[in-house]
Amino acid sequence: MLKFILRRILVMIPQLFILSILIFLLAKAMPGDALTGQLASNPKMDAQTLHELKQKLGMYDPYYVQYARWIKGLLHGNLGMSIIHQTPVTSLIAGKMWNTVLLGAAVLILSYLIAIPLGIIGGRWTDTWADKMIVGYNYLTYATPLFIFALLMLFIFGFVLGWFPTSGSVDIRVENGTFAYYMSKLNHLILPALSGAIVSTTVTIQYLRNEIIDTKIKDFVKTARAKGVSESKVYTRHIFRNSLLPIAAFLGYDIVSLIGGSVFLESIYGYPGIGQLFLTSIMQRDFSVVTALVMISGLATLIGTLLSDIILSAVDPRIRIE
């Protein structure tokens, strides 16, 4: 097991390395730099000073020098400085990352909490009205873009009904670390997480439903029935567990799509996180932030796939990792 994890990590390193080169080159291929945007609104700058400033920031160095500097920093755990925000990327990302992780985890958990029962109902009672409703729900969420859905949720539950706060991740007026603080965090989390979760249930429901339909006719289910196991037990003990396996295998992919989806959720709910940060950083050409975030999400994905492999091996005795 330990060996397996180590080996996987060993494989990760070159992947991340290639990723770092790729993203670095891409970043440099984008037109403009971090200073351009600043000057558009603040034209009090002579050409000489601009030149000086760029020199100071190392923008004229050859790419490989910049890359070497960056990778060296990276190895020392230093992700560089954000030119726009004038602060180390590490501290810029740190706070936001926890928000995104929190949001992502909440989306994932909620989406499983919703999708698994629905998938099970749909798979077990195929072609009943409940199943048809679930399939309908599935088509609807599949067809609705996340950002529209999130906005609708915000309008309905945030503004019209007023059940949930409409922006931010926590009420600033509560004391950090108190019970009220965590409740407030939770309260701010529910709506964005729910929006993300509902939209992302589609794949899970569909997959689970199909999987149950397939498993239902397997021979070992017949064996179980022949033992006299009651119908509900047949499902709980034999069908569901087997059908849920592939879902565990999806975890790694889910993490990738969560990072993508976080951009929308964070912007609409004013939830400070790295998805939004990435988007602005790209537009502002704050490359150190962009590269850092790409590396982080790459790493997260790798860890996600590793995690799903480990989970899978834990629940499926046929897969053994040494």
Binding site: M30, Y139, L151, V256, I259, L293
Partner: protein
């Protein structure tokens, strides 16, 4: 899709009474399933209208701004009203549907083609080839796709439908490659492949003539279901400001106008028709896809 069905079917049917190709089984399955047949007809109708009418429409005229009729609700002149540039929504809807469908179709086909080639090669040869290809695919998996798409969109010299398709396809083929690979791996173990080998058939011929046809139903089903997902694919990017230019209307663009709360609340004619059209097309394609899926899986066939 449709053209393919009829093209291949007609001549063979004439020649002989029985036809057992994938397509005819699928066709039979669709005809058996009233819902799928209805969906096929509806989709066909939509596409004929969309592609037909968009030939007649003057695209330049539709995207011409007219500040005198901004946000006008549906009327005799503008059946579905206008947007904030005074542009006719119906026209945009039709051209948008055409663009979106074309985009969806091209992305689906392109990713299908790449995924197929890569997946077949990896799965058939296995061993080291497979290993290398799988490492590449793994690498694609860790790429933050949305982020990179944005980067690519930004650095693309010309951003139009063609580039959009290329960029999206670049990132979306891996899933298909994985699917095809795993199916090929299974298929390769079957004796008919061994048989072909013992008969001296070269590998490339085995891949194309033997393995590929046996994956065809899976491929068709997968592509169909994918097509449904790819129809609204650009809407998210439009929301983020990286969608196609407005001079290239698409359903996604129309839908993402709804992010303006005023439009969402009060100007339904801008986004609702596009949303419904996406939904209807997706439903149609999905129903067809479900029928095809049953055709691919003999156990579930209706007849």
């Amino acid at each position: 899709m449709k053209a393919e069905l009829t093209d291949q079917k007609q001549p063979k049917v004439k020649k002989q009474k029985k036809q057992h190709g994938v397509l005819s089984i699928m066709w039979r399955e669709i005809v058996k399933d009233k819902l799928a047949l209805g969906a096929l007809i509806l989709l066909g109708l939509i596409l004929i209208i969309v592609y037909g009418v968009s030939l007649l429409l003057d695209q330049d005229k539709i995207v011409t701004v007219d500040f005198l009729s901004i946000y006008s609700p549906p009327s005799a002149e503008h059946w579905l009203g206008t947007d904030y540039g005074g542009r006719d929504i119906l026209g945009q809807l039709i051209i948008g549907a055409k663009n979106s469908f074309t985009i969806g179709l091209c992305i689906t086909l392109l990713t299908g083609l790449i995924g197929l080639t890569v997946g077949l090669i990896a799965g058939y040869f296995g061993g080291r080839t497979d290993n290398i290809i799988m490492r590449i695919i793994d690498f694609f998996l860790i790429l933050p796709t949305l982020m990179l798409i944005i980067v690519f969109v930004t650095i693309a010299p010309k951003y139009n439908v063609f580039y959009f398709i290329l960029i999206m396809s670049l990132f979306l083929w891996t899933g298909k490659a994985r699917l095809i690979r795993s199916k090929t791996l299974a298929e390769r173990e079957l004796d008919y492949v061994s048989a072909s080998k013992t008969l001296g058939t070269p590998d490339w011929k085995i891949i194309i003539r033997e393995v590929l046809p046996n994956l065809s139903s899976i491929i068709i089903v997968n592509l169909t279901l994918n097509l449904a997902g790819n129809i609204g694919i650009e809407s998210g990017l439009t929301y983020l400001g990286f969608g196609l230019p407005e001079s290239t209307p698409s359903l996604g663009t129309l839908v993402s106008y709804a992010t303006n709360p005023d439009v969402l609340e009060n100007k339904w004619w801008i986004w609702l028709p596009a949303s419904l059209l996406i939904l209807v097309m997706m439903l149609c394609i999905n129903y067809i896809g479900q029928a095809l899926k049953r055709a691919a899986d003999a156990r579930q066939r209706l007849g």
